[in-house]
């Protein structure tokens, strides 16, 4: 028989507000096994923990039930407290009477009644608890970073600087990501390439960093400290070890009609290409969809002219399998598709562009060599209209419900740069709110208004109508003047919402990392563990977790790196002892459990068994505790009921069911 102590927390008024704590204490005193029960304002506090320790000692308790907040919050705290007081840390059960009770109910009667039942269920479970000992597993001293943008580069550099090996997997032919496409950065107006390129070079040159570009993660297995990952290195058709990066092949390639991804399709590139001049590695890839050699079998010019003999049409995709202790996800973002927003005439006029396209237009390496031109006729625009929140803050199913966060600032930047370089150009910004929290951010926006006389209009645009003369008639509203505005513009720029890169969906599934309805990766705790995924060993870096600008991305990338380093620095990890166990007397060796185990943790052994005096050799299941993650799939699959899960045994769960239905 257990000797159980029950500790009911007030959590200030969080619990005590809707649960009569004293009544809970009295109600559970008579439950089987309960020796001691008391309440305290803050159980998780130092004093609260001491109180628990004292009670354990005084009443010789064998297990404790804490009625408090969610076990996801403080289970670890109370397990540690129990261990310090000399009882097994798995002899602790939490009754969640805050998130699942006091916070959702208003009526004290109802709340108290439910709290008592939840406590009873926890007591019933604890009565059947057995002491468990965690095992150990190894930590592979290498990290994987998925995504080679500024987030991935920063995380990789920080981890590598701490002395650990890092592999970066980037799906495009070069690292650099979105930041490499930007012209200038706010609020300092640094040239984006000027600050990014050195980082790219540093990452490429770092002895601890290994970069796989044009590669994708294909399969992930294993668990924290010991992941096994298959990386598909797509065929570049150019041998990286031979290529000198001279660029002659790109110059001579006769197929130059492919839309340039780097320039957002605003101009074209050759079929053999590096995405941009500073690409790392400076090794081109052949895009087989546009290459004449691959399409028709004729051509082969690049191979003929390559002095280094690097072009290899026979190259195949390669699968690389490596082990990692930690994985950082830094998959970044893209702008949303605008096909549902045709009132802005994006598909109808070349002079309606997204902000990211404008970055390319403003950039010296872009399609217009940095001259601000209309893409339709090459003329310099005299009137430019910016429209904010295109697809952001939309709860109508067309766009995204969230604020994309970066648009207010980059629009101020664009407006300012245009007014600075082309003072004759009028710039109007239609906005709903101007949101500029951040150091020197509001000052930056005010500069656009006060020094550069950018015309900010509070209101939205209803429709953009291309006119026969090629101009764009913008129909909007000025909510301050309460006037509908119809104005002619030569160019319209849409502050298009950003969304997580579509590839993150698949990666999240492989990592079993959870993802929210907008495809942003979920953090382990929104405030206190913002760079960790709930899946142990997986860390979040950059926009894959939520919209953020460059400084925030870099800061978060560093934070994710620190968390990864903290993991890699450990020699061993303690494993979850809540693993499956087969009762060898019941097991008939049928292999059903092994078939459902996602970890391959179950094997079979022939062992000598003494079954009620009958000695025989039987084939029985054996669970490898280091591999078992404790999902319990085998326990239900087992036809003879031999498999059970420690910490969540059949009897324990049934006891909880009984307690709730009593």
């Amino acid at each position: 028989m257990q000797r159980i102590g029950v500790f009911v927390c007030h959590c200030g008024s969080n619990i005590a507000g809707t649960v009569d704590v004293k009544r809970v204490v009295e109600a559970i005193r008579t439950e089987p096994g309960v020796i001691h029960a008391e309440d305290y304002p803050y159980m998780c506090s130092e004093a609260g923990q001491q109180l628990i320790a004292k009670a354990i000692e005084e009443h010789k308790l064998t297990g404790i039930v804490v009625c408090s907040c969610s076990p996801r919050m403080h289970e670890a705290t109370f397990r540690k407290a129990a261990a310090n007081a000399g009882i097994n840390s798995f002899m602790v059960e939490i009754a969640n009477i805050r998130e699942h009770c006091s916070w959702i109910h208003k009526d004290v009667e109802e709340g108290t009644e439910k709290a008592v039942i939840l406590a009873r269920a926890a007591i019933a479970k604890l009565n059947l608890d057995t002491p468990l000992q965690p095992g150990e597993s190894r930590v592979v001293k290498r990290a994987l970073v998925i995504g080679g943008g500024i987030a991935g580069i920063q995380s990789a550099l920080d981890i590598a600087d701490a002395g650990y090996e890092v592999d970066i997997v980037e799906k495009t032919p070069s690292i650099g990501g979105r930041m490499s496409q930007l012209d200038k950065t706010f609020p300092t107006l640094d040239c984006s390439a000027c600050i990014l390129t050195p980082k790219m070079v540093e990452a490429a040159a770092h002895e601890k960093i290994n970069i796989y570009t044009y590669s994708e993660v294909e399969k992930v297995s294993g668990f924290v400290g010991d992941f096994k990952v298959d990386i598909r290195k797509k065929a570049r058709y150019v041998d990286s070890t031979k290529c000198t990066g001279c660029g002659l092949c790109q110059e001579k390639c006769p197929s130059k009609k492919a839309p340039s991804e780097f320039n957002r399709g605003l101009n074209t590139r050759s079929a053999i290409y590096t995405p941009f001049a500073q690409a790392i590695p400076n090794v081109p890839v052949i895009d087989t969809e546009n290459c004449l050699k691959f399409k028709t079998g004729k051509c082969g010019i690049c191979q003929k002219i390559c002095a280094a003999g690097a072009v290899d049409y026979e190259q195949q995709d390669e699968i690389i399998t490596r082990e990692y202790g930690a994985i950082v996800v830094a998959t970044g973002f893209d702008t949303i598709k605008l096909d549902k927003y045709d009132e802005y005439a994006y598909s109808q006029s070349k002079d309606v562009v997204t902000s990211l396209e404008l970055e390319r237009i403003m950039n010296a390496a872009g399609p217009t060599k940095g001259h601000l031109e209309r893409l339709s006729d090459g003329k310099a625009p005299k009137n430019i209209v910016f429209i904010q929140c295109v697809g952001s803050r939309c709860s109508d199913g067309r766009g995204k419900s969230y604020c994309s966060k970066i648009c207010c600032m980059y629009t101020a930047k664009h407006a300012m740069l245009i007014r600075d370089k082309y003072p004759d150009t009028n710039v109007t910004v239609f906005y709903i709110d101007v949101r500029t929290p951040g150091k020197n951010f509001d000052e930056f926006y005010r500069r656009a208004v006060e020094d550069y006389h950018v015309n900010y209009v509070k209101g939205q645009v209803g429709k953009v109508m291309p006119q026969p003369d090629g101009s764009l008639l913008v129909q909007g509203v000025d909510l301050i003047d309460n006037k509908q505005i119809k104005m002619n513009a030569d160019m319209v720029v849409l502050a298009t919402a950003i969304e997580p890169d579509p590839s993150v969906r698949n990666i999240a599934t492989m990592l079993t990392a959870s993802i929210d309805t907008n495809n942003f990766l979920t953090e382990s705790h929104a405030k206190l563990r913002p760079v960790e995924s709930p899946t142990a060993g997986v860390f979040l870096s950059g926009v894959c977790q939520g919209p953020k600008d460059i400084p925030e991305t870099v800061a978060q990338a560093g934070a994710a790196a620190v968390k990864a380093i903290g993991l890699l620095a450990k020699d061993k990890l303690t494993t979850n002892p809540c693993t499956a166990q087969a009762d060898i007397l019941l097991c008939n060796g049928c292999s059903t459990c092994a078939n459902v185990c996602p970890y391959g943790a179950i094997s079979y052994e022939n062992i000598q068994i003494n079954d009620h005096g009958i000695r025989e050799e039987r084939r029985v299941a054996v669970v490898n505790n280091a591999l078992c993650q404790g999902c319990g799939a085998c326990t239900v699959a087992c036809p003879s009921g031999a498999m059970d899960l420690q910490g969540f045994s059949n009897r324990q769960i049934l006891a909880e069911v009984d307690a709730i239905c009593r």
Binding site: D342, E343, Q348, K463, M465
Partner: protein, 263 residues
């Protein structure tokens, strides 16, 4: 192929052409429009109030008849399409409307939104196919520059009607191409002509129709086509008369070589 057909009040009076040309064209294209019996006027505009039931019943009656015959219901007038289709969606999705409407109607089999509502243009696009239509054209209107005028009722609200992209539709343009002419795309083709407002606010309607006409003419349209008698009326009556306005079915009949069958 047989469809239930809901002509609506105006097609029996002021817009007989719209109806007649559609019928001969349908015959030429090998499908039949079977007029539902004892249909009543749809009311011209969809009653927006969530508590409006009685005003939706005439649509339900028509929809139920089509259901009983196991046919899809075709409309030709944009307004009827808008009203009947939205009522159908209400019956499908709004339990309150469904229950109350059925309580009123006392149909043999309660109506639960089973009927599929199609605009004549949708029949051309989704059942016949514009490529197929193109093959049947004997008298292509080559060289004609035609502006499609959609107005509001065919397109909005897009989430309910699912007719075409409400901001950048292309079904009538595809139709124009199919009959051999050249579509003129102009941004005001989905702006309102003024609708019923022209009864009491002539000037407002005139402003709107003039801008629409100017806009279409500016992009080089030589004529406008529409599917709505009210749009037709407003564009003819309240504009400067720069562009002729005809029903799309008239051009269809012409292209199919059956225009003369209509007396």
């Amino acid at each position: 192929m047989k469809y239930s057909y809901y002509p609506g009040c105006t097609l029996k009076t002021k817009a007989k052409d719209l109806d007649a040309y559609a019928r001969v064209s349908a015959k030429a294209l090998g499908f039949e429009l079977e007029e539902v019996e004892d249909w009543q006027c749809c009311g011209g505009v969809y009653p927006l109030g969530k508590d409006e039931i009685a005003t939706k019943l005439s649509s339900v009656r028509t929809l139920a008849q089509a259901r009983d015959k196991g046919q899809e219901l075709v409309t030709l007038c944009s307004a009827c399409y808008n009203v009947v289709k939205r009522v159908n969606e209400d019956i499908k999705n709004d339990e309150n409307v469904r229950t109350k409407a059925n309580n009123y109607m006392q149909l043999e089999t309660p109506y639960n939104g089973e009927t599929n509502v199609l605009h004549f243009l949708e029949v051309l696009r989704d059942r016949i196919g514009f490529d197929e239509l193109k093959k049947k054209v004997v008298n292509p209107l080559t060289g004609k520059k035609i502006g499609a005028y959609y107005g509001c009722l065919l397109l909005r609200p897009g989430s309910t009607l699912k007719f075409d992209d409400p901001e950048n539709p292309k079904i009538i343009e595809d139709f124009i191409r199919a009959i051999g002419a050249e579509p003129v795309i102009y941004p005001m083709r989905n702006e309102c002509c003024g609708g019923y407002i022209s009864l009491k606010e002539k000037e407002m309607a005139a402003n709107m129709c003039v801008s629409i006409e100017d806009n279409a003419a500016g992009f080089g349209a030589e004529m406008l086509i529409t599917a709505c008698p009210l749009c037709m009326y407003n564009l003819n009556k309240n504009s400067q008369g720069k562009l002729p306005v005809v029903y799309f079915t008239e051009l269809l009949a012409e292209a199919l070589g059956v225009k003369e069958e209509v007396k």
